[in-house]
């Protein structure tokens, strides 16, 4: 009886004490938040889980992906590198770092990382799809049998680029403004879009309009080259397209100059 009373006095505080969730439970909850798009909540839970279990590779991969998701690339890289220092073939960390390398215009590093992932895990559709994009296309034909004439920047246009299918810059205006870097961006966009369109069986890319807050980039493309011209956003689209189509004909009378605008 006395023992019973002693126990009753002890039990309530024991029942009332909330157990701290395990790191695995926090990662699981974080995944649920992440699946629902609550990225900050998910990251906070993962970081809390990692403070409980700092060696968890699953936690570090989750953290890396979440940092990418909230566009914090520095910490994402640190997380992926930490994982690969322990397990050099962790596929998600390799994919994460490969995507960062691609963002940083380092196609070679991207390719090496993806190949490393596919070497160990050949059935990895994400890595396979990105590897197709970063592998250099074999130039099937000379992009311009007759070198294109110098192109003059249309009135009100901010930038003009003519990029061959292998990513080399053919013509640009004005000469300042880092045209090589922008040409690489145009090339990567072209390759990524082409890969998506192929999968959706929508045919080859013919043109694009990339709308920004202050400017629009209008693009004409075929299998040989892409012409991208950037105009201020207040310029009517039709006026911009007239200029782009005129230049497109000028660089080689491309067959699709009359195709509908995007």
């Amino acid at each position: 009886m006395v023992e019973d009373m002693k126990l009753r006095r002890l039990l309530p505080p024991v029942r009332g004490r909330k157990r701290k969730p395990s790191a695995v439970a926090m990662f699981r909850d974080a995944s649920r938040h992440r699946d629902a798009g609550r990225l900050d909540d998910a990251l906070n839970l993962v970081l809390a889980g990692l403070s409980e279990e700092p060696t968890s590779l699953m936690g570090h991969v989750l953290a890396g992906n979440l940092y990418v998701a909230i566009r914090e690339i520095g910490p994402a890289r640190t997380e992926f590198e930490h994982v690969l220092a322990v397990d050099p073939h962790q596929p998600r960390a390799l994919l994460g770092l490969a995507r960062i390398a691609l963002e940083e215009n380092d196609a070679l590093a991207c390719r090496i990382l993806l190949e490393r992932a596919l070497d160990r895990y050949p059935d990895f559709p994400e890595a396979e799809a990105l590897l197709e994009v970063v592998q250099s296309p074999a130039p099937a034909t000379v992009p311009f049998p007759i070198p294109p004439p110098p192109l003059v920047l249309p009135r009100r246009a901010r930038q003009l680029l003519l990029v061959a299918c292998d990513g080399t810059l053919q013509r640009s205006a004005p000469s300042d403004g880092d045209p090589d870097r922008t040409a690489q961006h145009v090339h990567r966009v072209n390759r990524l879009v082409t890969a998506i369109l192929e999968r959706a069986e929508l045919g080859r890319l013919r043109g694009a309009m990339i709308g920004g807050v202050e400017e629009n980039t209008l693009m004409r493309c075929d299998e040989h080259a892409s012409l991208a011209v950037t105009f201020p956003a207040d310029l009517p689209h039709e006026a911009g397209w007239n200029e782009v189509d005129r230049l497109w004909r000028l660089v080689g009378a491309r067959e699709d100059a009359e195709a509908p605008h995007p």
Partner: protein
């Protein structure tokens, strides 16, 4: 334990886009490649498409670091037999694939409306 609010059900937003005449599929993907919601035909592998779409979305986002360029809002790509639209939201990228039966102006409006709904719903606090 958390539960999504009604407004947070982005699957319904994607379903609405996928139901537009001529649309082959729609996807909402986070910048790390995680699919938040998708309505794709079975012949399009969602893993590969999400990786490509997320990388494309980031590439378009990063154009703001190029001289003379600002943040992107929407991109429209014309192909031989269809169109792809990519739009940015706070939580990721909306990607819509449509064949050439689609009415371009209407699709643009529908995508903008979808982006607005996603943005509004994500500003609402989650039920805890």
């Amino acid at each position: 334990m958390s539960a999504p609010t009604e407004g947070r059900d982005v699957r319904a937003v994607l379903e609405g886009l996928a139901a537009v005449d001529g649309v082959r599929g729609a996807l909402l993907v986070a910048p790390d490649g995680l699919v938040i919601a998708s309505h794709l035909p079975s012949d399009i592998g969602v893993e590969a498409l999400s990786a490509l779409a997320a990388t494309l979305g980031r590439e378009l986002e990063l154009r703001s670091s190029l001289p003379g360029h600002g943040p992107f809002v929407t991109a429209r790509f014309a192909a031989e037999t269809g169109t792809m639209i990519v739009a940015t939201t706070a939580i990721g990228f909306v990607v819509v694939l449509a064949d050439d039966r689609v009415e371009a102006a209407r699709l643009d409006e529908d995508v903008q409306a979808a982006v607005g709904r996603i943005e509004r719903s994500w500003r609402e606090p989650a039920l805890r």
